[in-house]
Amino acid sequence: MRRVREISAGTVTETLRDLFIAANLEMGRDMQDALAKAAEEEESPLGRYVLQKILENMDVARKESLPLCQDTGLAVVFAEMGQEVHIVGGDFQAAVQEGVRQAYREGYLRKSLCDPLSRRNTGDNTPAVIFTEVVPGDRLKLIAMPKGGGSENMSCSAMLVPAEGKAGIVDHVVACVRKAGSNPCPPVLVGVGIGGSLEMSGVLAKKALLRPLGTANAHDERLAAMEREILEGVNRLGIGPQGYGGRVTALAVHMEMMPCHIASLPVTVNIQCHVARHREAVL
C-alpha cells in the first residue's frame, strides 16, 4: 500500500512567500540570455537602447533587491499535487493565499488587485488565481507566476471555425500581437493554447508561458513548426522593443494543444511582457 506523505500548510505558505518574492526580483537564466541576445541582434537604435536599459535594470534589481517592475502582478499559482500528499495543519487554499499575502507585504511588492466594480484595492494582493491538478506521486510542485496587467490586457480568445485550420490560427495569433502593438511592453512572449474548451485554451496558453524560453513544443512537430512560423510573422511586424520599432517584437512563441469538440477550434493568446517571471519548488 502506498504511504500518505504529509506536508504542512505552513510549508506551503513559506514556500510561496519565498517564490513570489524571488520571482519579482530576478528572472530565469533563459530570459536573461534571450534579452542579452536580442540586444546584440536588434537593428533599430532605439530598440537597442531599450534592450540595454532592460539588461541594466536586471542588474539593479538584483543588486538592490528591488522588483524588476512596479507591476508585481496578479499572483497566479499552479499546484501539481501528488495524490499521496496530505496537507496537514491547515487548509491548502488558505495556505496559498497566506503565502501570497506575506510575499507582497514582506517583499514590498505592489498590491495590484481590486474589486472589479468599486475598484477598491483588496489591500494584500489576494486572492491569488490558483490552478490545482492532482497527479500521481507524493510530491507537491508549486509554481509562482506574478502576471502583469498590461500584457494580460492584450491577450485574446477566439472560437475559430474549424475550417480556418492552421492558417486561421497563425493569422489570429499574429493579428493579436499586431493589435497589442506597444501596449504589452514588447519584446513579448506569446503563449498560445489551442483546443479544449473556452477556458481550457486560456489555461494552456498560460502554461505555455512557463516552458523554458525558446524550447519548441516537444510533443507535436506541427506545433513546433507553427511556433517558428508565428515567431517569424510577428517579428516582421516591426513593432520592436517598447514599440519604438525594430526586429525583436517577440522572443518566443510557445503553443500547447489538446483535443476539442468537433464543432470547435478554441484559440487563446496569452501575452507576457519582457519581465517574464516564474519560480517553482517541489516539496
Partner: protein, 186 residues
C-alpha cells in the same frame, strides 16, 4: 533617434513643448504627479464639479504610474509606466486645464493626439519593465491626494533626469506609426 538627449525641466510651457519632436530622447527633471486609472476618475469628477484639483495642473506633467511600496529608508519602490490608453477618456479634459505632459507607454487615441496639437502638449514614453532602474531617478516622493487608493494614489515626485522618448509631439506625429513605417516587413 537623436544622439544627445534633451534636458528639460518641469513645469512645461508651449514653447518647450513645441521644440520637441517624435523620437527625441529627453531627460526630464523637476516635479511630476503620478496618476492612473482610479485617480483619473476622481480628478475628472472633481473638474466636472468645478472643484479645485489636488495639484497645480498648469504646466504639469502626469506620470501614469503606481509605484511599488518603498522599503524603510528608501525614497520610493520600483516605479514605471502603465499602459496609457486607459487614461485616454480623461486626458483631453486635463489638457484643457493646462496639463502639458503625459508619461506612459503605448498608443493614444486619435482624440488625445488631436488634443495634444490643440493644447500644445506632449506624450512621452518611459520604458516599461525597468522599474528598479527608474527608481534611481526619483529624489522625493509623497502622497498628495487619494491616499485610500493605495498604489493608485497621486504622488508628488521630484525626479532627476528621468529618461524618456517623445511619442506624440505637438504636430500630431506618432513615433509608433513612424517606427512601423520604417521597420514593418509585412
Amino acid at each position: 533617434m537623436t544622439s544627445e538627449p534633451i534636458r528639460l525641466e518641469t513645469p512645461l510651457n508651449d514653447e518647450l513643448c513645441e521644440r520637441l519632436s517624435v523620437g527625441d530622447r529627453v531627460l526630464l527633471s523637476g516635479v511630476l504627479y503620478t496618476g492612473r486609472d482610479a485617480a483619473h476618475h476622481r480628478l475628472c469628477d472633481a473638474a466636472v464639479r468645478g472643484e479645485p484639483l489636488p495639484f497645480p495642473v498648469q504646466g504639469a506633467v502626469i506620470f501614469y504610474a503606481g509605484p511599488a511600496p518603498a522599503k524603510p529608508g528608501a525614497v520610493t519602490g520600483s516605479i514605471g509606466p502603465t499602459t496609457s490608453y486607459r487614461m485616454d477618456p480623461f486626458a483631453p479634459r486635463l489638457m484643457a486645464l493646462g496639463l502639458k505632459g503625459m508619461i506612459g507607454k503605448g498608443r493614444r487615441s486619435p482624440e488625445v493626439v488631436s488634443a495634444m496639437k490643440q493644447y500644445k502638449a506632449v506624450y512621452f514614453g518611459a520604458i516599461g519593465g525597468i522599474a528598479a532602474l527608474t527608481a534611481r531617478c526619483i529624489r522625493e516622493s509623497a502622497v498628495v491626494a487619494y491616499e485610500d487608493l493605495g498604489p493608485e494614489a497621486i504622488f508628488r515626485l521630484v525626479v532627476f533626469e528621468l529618461p524618456l522618448v517623445v511619442i506624440n509631439d505637438t504636430k500630431g506625429r506618432d513615433l509608433y506609426d513612424e517606427a512601423l513605417k520604417t521597420y514593418s516587413r509585412t
